[in-house]
């Protein structure tokens, strides 16, 4: 295990590691390590076959390389694809059985697993390295017929649902990282909302990479059946290490007729130190299918962490009158890089999409919005509105906007607006003159810039996100 002199711990308060014994798969990517994962998870044969199919496909795939941020070659044979806290090999039946050290870690992260202490109304599924540790509020949800559990449990207990929907939005053969995930995914969340049920609370997953030399490959599948509604949140942190760690998750959402899914992410993976050493490679595939008529999928993301963020949470608007939304804040500071945006694929009639992207770049960071709006020839009377705003701080950072627009239907309209601005000295002086210091002023101005996106977050997370916005930019104005 590589160790580093953690003298910047105060900059990244989630940078601690927890000393917990873990069980790991054999190092490297092989049929054996995949079999090991499947066995550890007590998976049925069909799941193992699915994984192996992905693995075989992977052999013929190459990593994509069209993105703006380049990264050194990843040695996939040098990673562990499964790491679980040892005490979790027998999954705890109640919170009392959860390793106290794990509970401690989550406390440090500010996620009280303990139901009594919890924020009201948020059910949490916590994923530590590769295993889902505990899911709170399960009983209350079960009464409504809602299934909220780890994907591993779902594979064992709800095989029909998993077989039907897993890989239906992100196919096995999609692209390198998605296919890699399909072969080696370890854990993640599974949500099923039955017809006409409005999920009474925010569902939430918290991801944490603890072990070193570990990739995290979580898989999330959310299905909103006809006429249902769910709001789902994920948060992520990782300890500080001087190596780069890969996080390649797949998230699939399916909304049937009249259903709505709201998916919010607050991503604060370790961004690396001030000189760009270490940090997470956050290469994630997130895609939602508005499969039914009048369905809606809304992505909100606040991306402040990771050395490289490379993701495009997308919507496939198949159902007539379906709606896709993407609200994004991407903050890059120091040497961080982000290439993020969305894809809105309009297939059904009268489909609508809205994209609001706020990119903030400071230090020597580089921030790219890349997005596709594709209106198919049958998608009559469809509409898209896109607004991309970039804010630059200092003169060593970069911001880029790369929109791809394809409109194959003459009755449909696409609008694109983009702005680039700098925080100006007059704004800072004004705030300072009213008693705020430089960091408070920057935080205030940037939060104002991001307001339209922050408003989309559920209340208690909006407050957290606002603080995070301020913290991520500390020291960015001299």
């Amino acid at each position: 295990m590589k160790n580093q002199n953690i003298n910047t711990l105060e900059d990244y308060k989630y940078g601690f590691t927890t000393d917990i014994e873990s069980i790991r798969a054999p190092k490297g990517l092989s049929e054996n390590s995949i079999k090991f994962i499947s066995k550890m998870k007590k998976e049925p044969q069909w799941m193992l076959d699915w994984r192996l199919k992905a693995f075989n496909r992977l052999k013929n795939l190459k990593e994509p390389n069209w993105q703006k941020p380049k990264y050194p070659k990843i040695n996939y044979q040098d990673l562990y694809y499964y790491s679980a806290p040892k005490s979790a090999s027998e999954k705890p039946k109640s919170l009392d059985e959860v390793d106290p050290k794990l509970i401690e870690t989550y406390k440090k992260l500010g996620i009280p697993l303990n139901e009594q202490k919890r924020l009201s109304g948020v059910a949490v599924d916590a994923v530590f390295d590769s295993v889902s540790v505990a899911t709170t509020y399960k009983e209350e949800l079960t009464k409504k017929g809602i299934i909220f559990c780890s994907i591993s449990e779902a594979i064992r207990n709800h095989p029909d649902l998993v077989k039907k929907y897993l890989g239906s939005v992100i196919p096995l053969t999609d692209h390198y990282f998605a296919t890699l995930n399909s072969a080696v995914f370890t854990d993640g969340s599974f949500v099923y909302i039955p017809p006409k049920v409005r999920c009474p609370m925010e569902l939430s997953t918290y991801f944490r990479i603890n072990a070193s030399e570990t990739g995290q490959f979580e898989r999330t599948l959310i299905i909103a059946d006809k006429g249902s509604y769910v709001s789902y949140l994920e948060g992520c942190t990782a300890p500080m290490r001087d190596e780069n760690q890969l996080h390649a998750a797949n998230v699939e959402l399916v909304a049937l007729d009249d259903a709505e899914i709201k998916y919010s992410t607050v991503q604060n993976w370790y961004p690396g130190d001030k000189d760009g050493v270490g940090g997470i490679y956050n290469f994630v595939t997130k895609r939602g299918a508005c499969r039914g008529k009048n369905s809606k999928i809304s992505w909100t993301q606040v991306e402040t962490g990771s050395a490289i963020t490379w993701k495009y949470p997308s919507c496939i608007l198949q159902g007539d009158n379906s709606v896709g939304e993407f609200y994004s804040i991407a903050i890059t500071n120091n040497h961080q890089k982000a290439d993020t945006g969305t894809k809105m694929i309009h297939l059904g009639k009268n489909t609508k999409s809205k994209i609001i992207s706020k990119g903030i770049s400071a230090g020597q960071a580089d921030n790219t919005y890349r997005g596709l709006v594709d209106i198919g020839k049958n998608a009559s009377n469809s509409r898209n509105f896109t607004q991309c705003d970039s804010l630059l701080m200092g003169n060593k950072c970069g911001a880029h906007t790369v929109p791809y627009i394809k409109n194959k239907n003459s009755s449909s309209t696409v609008e694109h607006e983009a702005t680039t601005s700098k925080i100006n000295d007059e704004q800072l002086f004004y705030c300072n003159q009213r008693g705020m210091n430089q960091e408070e002023a920057v935080s205030l101005i940037v939060n104002g810039f991001c307001k339209e996106v922050l408003q989309q977050l559920p209340m208690e997370f909006a407050v957290e996100a606002q603080k995070l916005v301020g913290i991520s930019l500390e020291g960015s104005v001299g």
Binding site: C431, N432, Q433, R434, E440, G448, E452
Partner: protein
Amino acid sequence: MLEIKNLKASINSRDIIKGLDITIKPGELHAIMGPNGSGKSTLANVLSGKNGYHISGVIQYKGKNLIEIPVDERAQKGIFLAFQYPTEIPGVNTNNFLKTSLNKVRKSKGEKELDTLTFLKIVKEKSAELGIDEKILSRQLNVGFSGGEKKKNEILQMKILDPSFMILDETDSGLDIDALKTIANGVNSSRDKKKSFLVITHYQRLLNYIKPDFVHVLSDGKIVKSGGMELAVELEKTGYKKIK
């Protein structure tokens, strides 16, 4: 309250203030008049601590040298600048901004921070007192404000923050007579034995309402003449050229 001795300020090696002396005692209101480019706004910026100027001389405020103290700390110590051109900050709610500001000032004085309800009560009171529509405070800070609204917003902030030394940088410029009275009312109702003002203006108009104790004429970075209200009246008649 404020004692300025031989103050010099330059920006990008261009001298703007070239040896300025002024003493402002508690309870006094001083007006600074002068032609365009004489250094009036620079004086306001330098007193409030804006970066970018090269400064020499002494600025004593309540017995302490201000020059090394950063802008935000000066503000917390009771120095307030009503801006000539208040800047727009999109997405930032004016009430939230002002509440953050007030709580920073209170905290630095060791006072308890106010919750939203108490804060809004103060806002209601003060805006009623000045006859300013409090609705402007629920809008984004200065965004889409008319010239008059921006200036009124400055004066309302001044009332709420309750500073001890207030600089008004051409707050009266471009205002109609009603708005001008609102500004004057804001100044007059803030005057007491412990508070002082430095009012920068081009015109006698505002001074008719706020009655300065002293009037100074700033020209080419120096005070060339000081007097009482009669000096403002004279200037209005003769212009600045005669004074030089």
